[in-house]
């Protein structure tokens, strides 16, 4: 059938990007989504796919510091970019990042599937707004869906993380 001729794979694209501090020089198919590159080739399965159409926010990562839905971005668009995923937050000694700790202490997760997206969205928010109030949190994370928690403890967690990071900074200045 003639359709088969259109399925020849297009030429791969070279992408150099830094993910969680490690630089990569890769050849990717033009249609490879960032989420699939992260989860597949790079083995960073902490980034989760909930809807693959940008509605749920589970796949949120930071691209050059901006919270980005990795299911809506082609890897080929990211030559030269710096990407951070949830795997960048905790320490190799098992220590939790203050944002992770705040979610733990405030019961801001249940099944944990949306959580990586919530955490990375929180990272971006706290870069802009050091001590967000609940309205700031809803404005920033209102597009991230969670089906377990009812959100109340997520909002609490993010506010607490803001306070903890601010206290850490103040402590460091003393």
């Amino acid at each position: 059938m003639s359709e088969t001729t259109s399925t020849a794979a297009p030429e791969k694209v070279r992408v150099r990007l830094t993910v969680n501090g490690t630089s990569h020089d890769l050849l990717v198919e033009p249609r490879t989504l960032l989420a699939d590159l992260l989860r597949g080739d790079l083995g960073l399965t902490g980034t989760h796919l909930g809807c693959e159409q940008g509605v749920c926010g589970s796949c949120t990562v930071l691209v050059d510091g901006t919270a980005t839905r990795s299911c809506l971005v082609f890897a080929a668009q990211l030559d030269g970019a710096t990407v951070r995923t949830v795997e960048s937050l905790g320490g190799v000694d098992g220590s939790l990042h203050p944002i992770q700790r705040a979610f733990h202490e405030n019961h801001g997760l249940q099944c944990g599937f949306c959580t990586p997206g919530m955490l990375m969205g929180t990272c971006e928010l706290l870069e802009r707004t050091t001590e967000p109030d609940p309205d700031d949190v809803r404005e920033a994370l209102g597009g991230n869906l969670c089906r377990c928690t009812g959100y109340q403890n997520i909002v609490k967690s993010v506010c607490a993380a803001g306070r903890a990071l601010a206290a850490e900074r103040n402590g460091a200045q003393v």
């Binding site: 902490g46 944990g112 599937f113 949306c114 209102g142």
Partner: protein, 816 residues
């Protein structure tokens, strides 16, 4: 016939008194969190095996059609495609899906000859990556002969309606009328009979993670290993084996971390069969993970879809006498789980009230929609909605305050255990105290004043009220007792753990249930800590695969905390008793004089001489000659905790027996503001008082309740599967099927009352579904209250803006 007196009277014998508990009842930090926060938990989509292929599914665009032909040649020619299977080809590799129904409604994971709902699988593909698998689906050519779609459940019942299954005489797959008590007499002697025709539309669980499986078939030893997010790997693995065409003792099912279920992932036989068939066809591991459209359109995601004609008979003083429920339930195209959602509803149809008679008339109707599965509430959710609406209506008609009419009819604390008309037993409760506490918590008088003030401004504030049951801890009889001759009259719902104390005193527990988003590791650790006096952080908890034989019905029916408490405590007691015997032997004492305190074993009341967990662990593992005679080496116990109190239904089904007897209770008071012009309902505040017996872990219970309430906000205001006249699914993604976001959620305040269950360890009851079982009807009550000046009566959920505007318009124009 069973009686209430058959119950176990002191299931909690030997439990420490409440004041003595150190870990049960505390907000112990959740042990499941770190791996989830770090992104290191293994979900089924994270599983990778050498040589693994990826599956994709071609789905029917039509609600009802005959498959004339399928041409897979172009798909097979695409580089990277390893297998393309039609329904007929898949049926040579795997068997039809197991079903609980007695009626002949066969279902295969991939349709053969005919599709019966939009999104039904027509062909499946395995390829080297998902992109190529989806390319291949797009290259498959299917010719359909479109058949008339049956969409309206009432029209589907007509004798001349297009038949969904030729194997049935009618689209009414099941009908039964059951009377309990003197229904006719109660109707006849009633002063008032209030009636409603209510509509509860189909909604879906919509967990953030879809269903999936990785199947790996070994053609040489005829074994299969399956990773999945199913729950029943340790309950019904033999049923999966039958479907997959694998010997029961050669199927190994491995649980993964699960990204939410809410009832939708118990079986997931479709994804298991699809991955299994593709692995058998290719001889390689195959991962099939639904995308969101697959999950919404074709998973077992869908809850009840009911039309109620309901009547509540009352005496002049508001005493509730009898209840009649005539229910049409749209089951969709298949009947895999039979009428389980109605068996479930029989646990509490008369709510917290002393209603002495019940008529339950149910018609399960088949249409061209995806089949019903299970969704948090599991059949009792619309029941609560309708009953509470009737009670509000009765209060209105009789001129009795809606709190007062409830108070007059509540089962009193001295009436427990209370046998309900259908036979289920309620263990304990204090409903009036819950109501009083909720009214106080909400500050009702202040909100009434606010309502007055806003009404003067032309704004519509409403105060809702609902007092509902949450049946918890089910027994399997609910699956089948509506049949006279059930195909599988099972009566087991076990939960097991395997515990061991190693030679260095480390405690490890392997649970049979999966991690479904709840907190089995934390609960188990709290119980172990309670029984040994050690720190819960020191307990290691892992998850058993299906080869250990540890039976587990897992999370469902708000049972897991009850059942894990029983299983863990049982195992801990077995091991602790053995350790006491070994310690007594070593210290040359009578075992009766040895106690376990703070992880050490010592003479009762004389802490001088003691042995540590490690002392006894080493002795038990390596020093056979130094342990008591007849004592085997090691410290291992498997404990299976069966349902703490269940009785069989009577043969004539006049008494369904006790099958859901741990009954929690809640009163919810939501505050809403309604804009009658736009139809938008805004939650201003939400108050809930809950009694789930002894609270195992306050923080985690509150998390369950708040999460359930927010799903209830979705049920009340936005969630609905919508179908076009041609049967097309109009809500196949999260863009059309709306779930609540942070923006729809008010501050939710939760408080507790604790009426321990006499049937369970520590007195715990379940709490997993309560939020969603109460919130929809409470919010309906609030919208009613808001729009009372306009004469609106809410009898249909969800109250979308369109429906609210429609109700306001109808009321203004005097239409019913």
């Amino acid at each position: 016939m069973s009686t209430v007196e058959d119950r176990p009277t002191t299931a909690t014998t030997g439990s420490p008194r409440e004041g003595e508990r150190r870990w049960v009842g505390r907000s112990v930090p959740r042990k499941e969190d770190p791996k989830l926060l770090a992104g290191r938990a293994t979900f089924v989509g994270d599983v990778t095996l050498p040589g693994m292929l990826h599956g994709a599914v071609l789905r029917s665009p039509h609600a009802h059609a005959r498959i004339v032909s399928i041409d897979t040649s172009a798909a097979e020619a695409i580089p990277g495609v390893a297998a393309v299977l039609t329904g007929a080809q898949a049926a040579e590799l795997v068997n039809p899906m197991p079903a609980f129904c007695a009626e002949p409604v066969p279902q295969t994971a991939v349709a053969i000859e005919r599709v019966r709902y939009p999104g039904e699988a027509v062909a499946i593909v395995a390829a080297t990556d998902r992109y190529i698998a989806e390319d291949a689906c797009a290259a498959i050519r299917v010719e359909y002969e479109v058949l008339p779609a049956v969409v309206d459940p009432e029209a589907a019942m007509a004798p001349d309606a297009t038949r969904i299954h030729e194997t049935l005489d009618s689209n009414v797959a099941f009908h039964r009328t059951l009377d309990f008590g003197d229904v006719e007499g109660d109707l006849a002697r009633a002063h008032t009979v209030v009636r409603t025709r209510a509509r509860w539309h189909r909604m879906g669980a919509q967990p953030m993670e879809t269903a999936g499986a990785v199947a790996s078939w070994d053609p040489f030893d005829k074994s299969m290993t399956v990773y999945s997010n199913s729950n029943f790997h340790n309950f019904l693995p033999w049923a999966f084996a039958g479907m997959l065409g694998v010997s029961t003792n050669r199927l190994r099912m491995i649980p993964c971390a699960v990204g939410g279920s809410f009832g939708s992932k118990h079986f997931i036989t479709k994804v298991l069969a699809i991955a299994g068939a593709l692995s058998k066809a290719t001889g390689r591991p195959v991962q099939y993970l639904e995308d969101r459209v697959d999950n919404i359109a074709a998973n077992d995601n869908v809850g009840c879809d009911r039309i109620y004609d309901a009547e509540l008979a009352l005496a002049e003083d508001g005493e509730m006498l009898g209840l009649t429920l005539r229910i049409i339930d749209d089951y969709g195209a298949y009947f895999q789980f039979a009428h389980g959602q109605h068996g479930n509803a029989m646990a509490q149809p008369t709510g917290p009230y002393r209603i002495s008679s019940l008529r339950y008339d149910v018609s399960c109707v088949l249409t061209n929609k995806v089949q019903q599965g299970f969704f948090r509430g599991a059949g009792a959710d619309p029941g609560n909605f309708v009953l509470e609406r009737l009670v509000d209506k009765a209060a209105e008609q009789l001129g009795i305050d809606r709190a007062e009419i409830r108070r007059r009819n509540f089962i009193r604390p001295d009436q427990f255990p209370f046998k309900t008309p259908p036979g289920n037993v309620y263990d304990s409760g204090n409903y009036a105290a819950v109501l009083d506490k909720a009214l106080e918590l909400a500050g009702i008088d202040d909100w009434r004043a606010e309502q007055e003030r806003l009404r003067a401004e032309g704004r519509y504030l409403g105060i809702g009220l609902a007092t509902c049951q949450e049946r918890t801890g089910y027994n399997a009889s609910e699956w089948w007792f509506l049949y006279d001759n059930p195909p599988l009259p099972a009566t087991s719902t076990p939960e097991s753990v395997k515990m061991d104390v190693d030679a260095m005193g480390g405690v490890r527990v392997e649970v049979g249930c999966p991690l479904w988003g709840n907190s089995p590791e934390t609960v188990v650790s709290q119980v172990v800590a309670e029984e040994f006096g050690i720190d819960p952080g020191d307990v290691s908890v892992t998850y058993a695969d299906s080869t250990t034989g540890a039976m587990s019905a897992g999370p469902g029916g708000s049972r897991l905390t009850i059942m894990l408490s029983g299983a863990t405590r049982g195992a801990a007691r077995t091991i602790r008793d053995k350790m006491i015997r070994i310690a007594a032997h070593a210290m040359e004492m009578d075992p009766a004089d040895v106690e376990c305190v703070d992880g050490t074993f010592r003479a009762k009341g004389a802490p001088g001489t003691s042995m540590s967990m490690a002392d006894i662990g080493m002795r038990a593992h390596l020093f056979f000659h130094d342990t008591p005679e007849d004592e085997s080496s090691g410290l291992v116990a498997v404990h299976t905790y069966d349902h703490p109190y269940s009785t069989p239904p009577s043969a004539d089904r006049k008494d369904m027996g006790a099958f859901y007897p741990m009954v929690s209770h809640a009163c919810h008071i939501p505050i809403v503001e309604v804009d009658p012009e736009t139809g938008v309902v805004t939650l201003r505040a939400y108050y809930a008082v809950n009694d789930c017996g002894t609270v195992m872990n306050p923080t985690l219970v509150e998390g369950q309740i708040v999460g359930g309430i927010v799903q209830g906000i979705g049920a009340a205001l936005m969630e609905e599967y919508r179908y076009g006249e041609d049967g097309a699914l109009d809500t196949p993604t999260f863009r059309e099927y709306l779930v609540p976001s942070m923006h729809e959620v008010p501050e939710i305040v939760v408080e507790h009352l604790e009426t321990p269950s006499p049937f369970t360890e520590y007195g715990v009851k379940g709490a997993g579904e309560g939020g969603r079982l109460v919130a929809p009807t409470a919010i309906a009550s609030a919208v009613d209250d808001a729009l009372k000046p306009l004469g609106v009566w809410v009898d249909e959920l969800p109250m979308t803006p369109e429906r609210v505007v429609g109700m306001v318009t109808d009321a203004r124009e005097g239409r019913p």
